[in-house]
Structures are given as structure tokens and as C-alpha cells.
């Protein structure tokens, strides 16, 4: 009996309140409109899962799903979840090829830099500080130099993760080349600093609301 009580007592003592890990080391995610308007946007818990539409051409749906999973997988408390939408009219984020559709090929990261480009259009904000429509992401195969299909695929994979990063609220670029939100993206996946930054963003009060 005494032994059991002692065991329980020791268990209580051994389980002090643990200290949460440090979350220092982030880059700026909030855009500003001079002089003092700060733009902070993230998808609130009431608006997840975020609905992504990927034009059904080539392997775009796969690439978009993969990119979103790369971000969603960073969160410890399921702050961000997403789903592929079958209809662009109901989507929160629309992803398309801007012109040619690259062939599906095993990615070749060597020499992939400059093989593609991506642009994210942030919707306008109305007088109630609410976005007026979906985010639009366009992906382009660059033809200024010759790239193999594998190099284009490698470029697209990292570029889509980067652009999806903008669509979930990381409006600014990271100055660190090791972050996926660096411009242009030089790495294949979000870094620890990307993770800490997006975690911080999703626990910062937003100043911009999503579309109704």
C-alpha cells in the first residue's frame, strides 16, 4: 500500500509542467500598406478545410495536393487542413498552368533553377476587410533556356509549395535561401524556419478575413 502511494507520488513529481519549445526564429509574414496598415491573413478554423482547385491537366492535381500536404503537415494542432475541390467555382484557391502543360517525369533537382515560374494573385479586399474572391496561382514553364522534363518537374514541385505558401497567408518572402518562401525557392520543402513562421502566423490575429 505504502509502496503504491509512493509510486503515485513519484509519478506526480516526475510530471511537472513541461516547458513548451521555443518558437523563436521566424521571418516577417505580414505585409504592410504605408503608413501603418498591417496585413495579416490566415485561413481561420471556421474556414478549413481550404478548398483547392487544380486544373485537371498533366499532374497538376498531384502537385497541388502534395504542396498543400507539405504545409498542412507542419502543424501540430491541425490549424490548417485542405481538400481538393472538383469545381473551381467553389474553390478558395485556383491553380492553373498559364500556358503549356509540362510532361510528368521524375524530378531532377540538378539544374532545375529557372525552369519555371509561379505567380499568386491575392484577391482584393473590400471595405469590411474581407477578401473578395479566391486566390489564383499560375504556373509557367520557362523556355528561355532548354530544360529537361525532370528539371521542369523539380522546379514545379518547389514553386507550387512556394505559391501555396502565399495562398495560406505567407505574403512576404523569406530572406534566407534555405526557406521555401525565399524567392526564387531553392529548396524542395519547407524548412524549420518556414514551419515556425507559419505556426506563428496561424496564431496571430488576422486583419483580413477570407471571402464569405
Amino acid at each position: 500500500m505504502k509502496r503504491i502511494l509512493a509510486t503515485l507520488g513519484l509519478a506526480v513529481l516526475a510530471c511537472n509542467e513541461p516547458t513548451p519549445p521555443s518558437r523563436g526564429g521566424t521571418y516577417n509574414f505580414a505585409d504592410t500598406i504605408p503608413p501603418d496598415t498591417i496585413i495579416v491573413f490566415h485561413w481561420p478554423s471556421s474556414r478549413v478545410p481550404v478548398r483547392f482547385y487544380a486544373a485537371p491537366q498533366g499532374n497538376l492535381p498531384f502537385l497541388v495536393q502534395r504542396a498543400f500536404a507539405a504545409w498542412a503537415g507542419l502543424f501540430l494542432y491541425d490549424e490548417l487542413t485542405g481538400t481538393l475541390a472538383s469545381d473551381s467555382l467553389t474553390a478558395d484557391v485556383i491553380v492553373i498552368w498559364s500556358d503549356s502543360v509540362p510532361p510528368d517525369a521524375p524530378p531532377d533537382t540538378a539544374g532545375a533553377l529557372g525552369a519555371c515560374n509561379g505567380v499568386t494573385d491575392v484577391p482584393t479586399v473590400d471595405s469590411t476587410s474581407r477578401l473578395t474572391g479566391p486566390f489564383h496561382i499560375q504556373l509557367t514553364v520557362l523556355t528561355t533556356a532548354m530544360y529537361t522534363p525532370g528539371q521542369v518537374q523539380a522546379c514545379m514541385r518547389r514553386t507550387i509549395i512556394h505559391e501555396v505558401g502565399h495562398s495560406i497567408g505567407l505574403f512576404l518572402h523569406s530572406p534566407a535561401p534555405g526557406d521555401i518562401m525565399h524567392s526564387p525557392p531553392l529548396v524542395d520543402a519547407p524548412s524549420e524556419q518556414d514551419r515556425r513562421t507559419v505556426e506563428r502566423l496561424y496564431h496571430t490575429p488576422a486583419t483580413i478575413l477570407p471571402p464569405p
Binding site: M1, I4, T7, C15, N16, P20, Y77
Partner: protein
């Protein structure tokens, strides 16, 4: 509870050989524990509700707490008769709930289902008429509905658990005949998952669980501990 211990008596004739006696003795030895167990052990089933304290507390700009909602809780306990004031008990305890994230000053978000199963062994002791106490130790396993978030890398195996319980069975009337009563259970374990470790949590968090339940016993007998 005091019950008659089942016994098997047998007489072996002198004319039987040594081998026959040995075989018979072996049979008796192998059967006897089963007979005794079935005659001695009583079962108690309990159903109620459980509160679980915060599993994870984090600070990301503001405070974040993750804990299960109030949950239905069921348990089955097998108890031996009291000998020298004590009985031995084996307990299986199941509860299922919804895990929630509570953002300080913000919303509460559903994180999916969460089932827990605990298996314990302990001792039971009558305190005053109708009231008994129990101490138990064992293991607890989490079964998350979604392998995401804090459970993305699994639940981390079986967690050591210790607990106490108080049961009250009114010492007369129908309640006594059916072994009906109430039970309050408290247990404690240390919680951490592989995903939390991977994110820099270096120590476990003490998780307290409290359950209130109605219980019934089989066989229905007087003097239920």
C-alpha cells in the same frame, strides 16, 4: 464479499495403482484453480462520464491547450473475495471522446476522435459499511481517430498509469441485491507523443482523469466490497 470456495473432493481406492493416483492428482491440480476462480471472482461493470485534464499546453503567440471533451467511460472489474481485509482487482477501462484545441481568447476546434483503453491491477479494501477504496496501477493506450497533429507519428505506446477509486453500494435493499452503487475514479499518467518530442517537448505532462460512474456487480451478493 465472502463466498464459499469451491472444492472438489475425491477418494482414490487403495486398489488403484500409483500411476492412477498420480494421474488423478494431476487432473485435480489442473481443474482445481479453474473451479476456485470461477467460484471466487465477482465482476463489476460501471458506466459513467470522465473528465480529462489538458494533454498538451503550448504557447504560440498565445496559449494553446489540447484536451479531450467530457467522455463516456466504461469499465469492467474482476475482484477476488476479501482475505485479510484486502481483495485483488483487475480492471479494464474504456472511454472515447473528441479531442479539442482551445486557443486562448479564440475558438475551440474539434481535432477528431480519441479512444483510450486502460488495463490495471490493484487492491481493494472495505472502508466503512458499503464504502470501499481501491488502488491500482497499469497501462493506458491512446487510439486517435486521426493520425495527424500531436498523433502524426503515433501515440507512443503504452503509458504507465496509477489510480484510486471509491465505490459505494448501499448496504441494504435492491441496491445491495444487485450490487448497484456509484463509483468515483481518479487516475494519473504522464502524456507525451513522438510528434511532441520531435517538436521539442522534452518532458511529459501529468494528465489527471476523473470519472463518475454507476456500477453493478455479478454475482449479486451481500457484502460487496
Amino acid at each position: 464479499m465472502h463466498e464459499t470456495v469451491g472444492r472438489s473432493d475425491a477418494t482414490v481406492g487403495r486398489s488403484d495403482g500409483r500411476t492412477a493416483r498420480a494421474v488423478f492428482a494431476l487432473i485435480l491440480l489442473s481443474i482445481s484453480p479453474t473451479v476456485r476462480l470461477s467460484a471466487q471472482v465477482s465482476l463489476q461493470a460501471a458506466a459513467g462520464v470522465r473528465y480529462t485534464s489538458t494533454l498538451v499546453h503550448d504557447s504560440i503567440v498565445t496559449g494553446v491547450d489540447v484536451r479531450p471533451r467530457l467522455a463516456p467511460a466504461f469499465s469492467v472489474t474482476a475482484t477476488t473475495p476479501i482475505q485479510h481485509g484486502w481483495a485483488v482487482a483487475g480492471i479494464a477501462d474504456l472511454s472515447w471522446s473528441t479531442l479539442e484545441r482551445h486557443d486562448q481568447g479564440g475558438p475551440t476546434v474539434d481535432l477528431g476522435g480519441l479512444t483510450t483503453l486502460a488495463v490495471e491491477v490493484g487492491v481493494r479494501h472495505p472502508l466503512v459499511t458499503g464504502l470501499s477504496g481501491r488502488l491500482a496501477v497499469g497501462g493506458l493506450k491512446y487510439f486517435p481517430g486521426n493520425e495527424t497533429g500531436i498523433f502524426r507519428d503515433g501515440s507512443g505506446g503504452i503509458l504507465p498509469l496509477g489510480g484510486v477509486a471509491l465505490s459505494y453500494v448501499p448496504p441494504a435493499g435492491i441496491a445491495q441485491r444487485w450490487g448497484l452503487g456509484i463509483e468515483a475514479r481518479y487516475d494519473l499518467h504522464a502524456f507525451i507523443t513522438p510528434a511532441l518530442r520531435n517538436r521539442g517537448f522534452t518532458s511529459s505532462r501529468a494528465v489527471h482523469r476523473v470519472a463518475l460512474a454507476l456500477r453493478a456487480a455479478w454475482p449479486h451478493a451481500s457484502g460487496q466490497p
